[in-house]
Symmetry: C2
């Protein structure tokens, strides 16, 4: 029996319809290329724009080979710092010059790995790179939001297989963030509580959608997921600002990110996915109603006309079943 | 130089960034299968659920071979009429049993064609089928909205190549429609004019994004398109209700739909796409602020983490360039 479910934060509805999983459709494929040539490999530093940040031994030179993590501008940027963001009006239409930052975080020199198979130190270094760039870009008063994200696999929009994440910083707050802010503000005004904290409480009480937990974080399948095996990672203590993680939180966040991806990998095989960090915008980083988190969306199916037309998602795997399947890994059933 | 642009109806921003079109990414492929076996072919009527509607000569029997268009329930429905839509609450979470309609419009017995290559009569019959089902489902007071849509090609979510459209009718108004209603209502309250009528006026005045025009319709690239070659078809006269098209409008709508898709086909080759009809919900079909229209979204690129994370779209083809490229077809440049 299918079911409509409402996401409590955005009021977006989804259709959970397990019957749909029987229809004949090929699983999205991931071509794991044993690429001959890669601009993100060691020795090819001259093929990317000059580095913005690199983790490397002291006494290294900029753009030399001694790095274990590099951040470079995207060679094909969606936005640039050429012109300041000035609003232009033409009749009914508004536009702004494409001011912003578009950067690539090259996560490791190792071409053939993913976060699930890195060691703790490597994953922590990725988080530190996110934090450093987030807090550095914050100084640019023209920027309102930094979207940190990862595309893994061609079906998830990745054009290169080498492990990397990206960030795009814009003078505009993205609409999904606006919607989450609006929904969580409305909840706070009534209940005087953060809606995400309230979700964490209910998830812990029900314990049917939780995937992983450590001292500071839990990962779980949200109640109204758009995609099969959509998984969120959230800090247990209230924190609206991704930018102020301390060393203990970085360690625990790296650990849960790695372990959650590993579980998904073990169940789904190598699978295409996106993840993105949602946090408060720069002009309102510390508040009582919003709560930073990371959303993982496996790209096992293609959004189609219904989804694009309506914003309504049909999901053929209920989050309880997804959690159960991921849990049965631990119990040795798979 | 990239540019942010705001969709005037929903206030959704997009990034128009032609630089991005240089990045190495394969074009989404369409496998045109010369399928051996198809449940939508003539003679296989017993392989679909029994027909809800069929266009056929008088004296034909239900589910016989004499049809030129059939509507059947989706064999793998996202929603069904098993249980009435009653709201259930569990702590913070709300759900509703999956009441609704999910139907397939088999557009023609001809396995190997598309709307662009059908004759006028065939396309008009498709529109008549949409209208009949729309107006029939309207009688079910539990339903609030009918989303009519088409998936063409595996990359656009189609599991079968035989020409078909679908509809999903739900007791919930989809969030994108809610957003368009909200935006157009806000505009109307200030300007006392329909925002879509106002857009039509500006498009006709500027004449840099129009693709096709006839007596009753125009098709154009919207100012802030999410996708390269996203194209909208809209009735010129104000009309909030898709369900009340008369015979002349059906003819002109069929014509512009066919001609617009043909132009896109001639420029892009056989390409995967979705289209969807947006109209007012059943409880408010005739109003002054909303305007029904059809949106075509070519699926040449994959939405990635940035788009899914932020709701912000990066589009590598400006609508003016897209319109210019489509226009140059007429002028014999291509």
């Amino acid at each position: 029996m299918p079911e409509y479910r409402k996401d409590p934060i955005t009021n977006r509805w989804v259709i959970i319809s397990s019957e749909r999983s029987n229809r004949p459709i090929e699983k999205a494929e991931l071509t794991t290329s044993t690429s001959i040539f890669c601009p993100f490999d060691k020795g090819n530093e001259h093929l990317t724009p000059p580095e913005i940040l690199a983790f490397k031994p002291q006494n290294s030179k900029p753009n030399d080979e001694n790095w274990w993590l590099r951040v470079v501008p995207n060679k094909f940027p969606a936005v640039t710092q050429e012109k300041p963001p000035i609003i232009k009006k033409n009749g009914m239409y508004f536009s702004i010059d494409g001011y912003g930052y578009h950067e690539v975080i090259i996560e490791t020199p190792n071409h053939n790995t993913t976060i699930a198979y890195m060691n703790d130190f490597e994953v922590e270094e990725i988080i530190w790179a996110y934090l450093q760039r987030f807090n550095e870009i914050k100084k640019d008063k023209k920027i309102k939001y930094v979207q940190i994200f990862k595309n893994y696999g061609p079906n998830a929009g990745a054009s290169l297989p080498h492990p990397h994440s990206q960030l795009i910083a814009t003078p505009i707050i993205p609409i999904f963030i606006e919607e989450e802010l609006k929904g969580s503000k409305a909840f706070y005004n009534i209940k005087k509580e953060c809606i995400f904290c309230s979700i964490i409480n209910q998830e812990k009480k029900e314990n049917v959608r939780i995937i992983e937990e450590n001292n500071n974080f839990i990962s779980f399948e949200p109640f109204a997921p758009r995609f099969p095996y959509e998984t969120w990672i959230i800090q247990k203590e209230h924190n609206s600002n991704f930018g102020n993680l301390d060393i203990h939180l970085v360690k625990d966040f790296a650990k849960i990110l790695k372990n959650t991806l590993l579980k998904l990998n073990r169940l789904l095989g190598i699978f295409p996915f996106n993840y993105m960090i949602h946090t408060s915008p720069f002009d309102n980083l510390n508040n009582s109603y919003y709560h930073w988190h990371l959303e993982i969306i496996p790209r096992l199916t293609n959004a189609a006309g219904f989804e694009w037309g309506s914003g309504f998602f049909i999901n053929s795997v209920s989050p309880e079943n997804a959690a159960q399947n991921l849990k049965s890994l631990e119990e040795g059933f798979l």
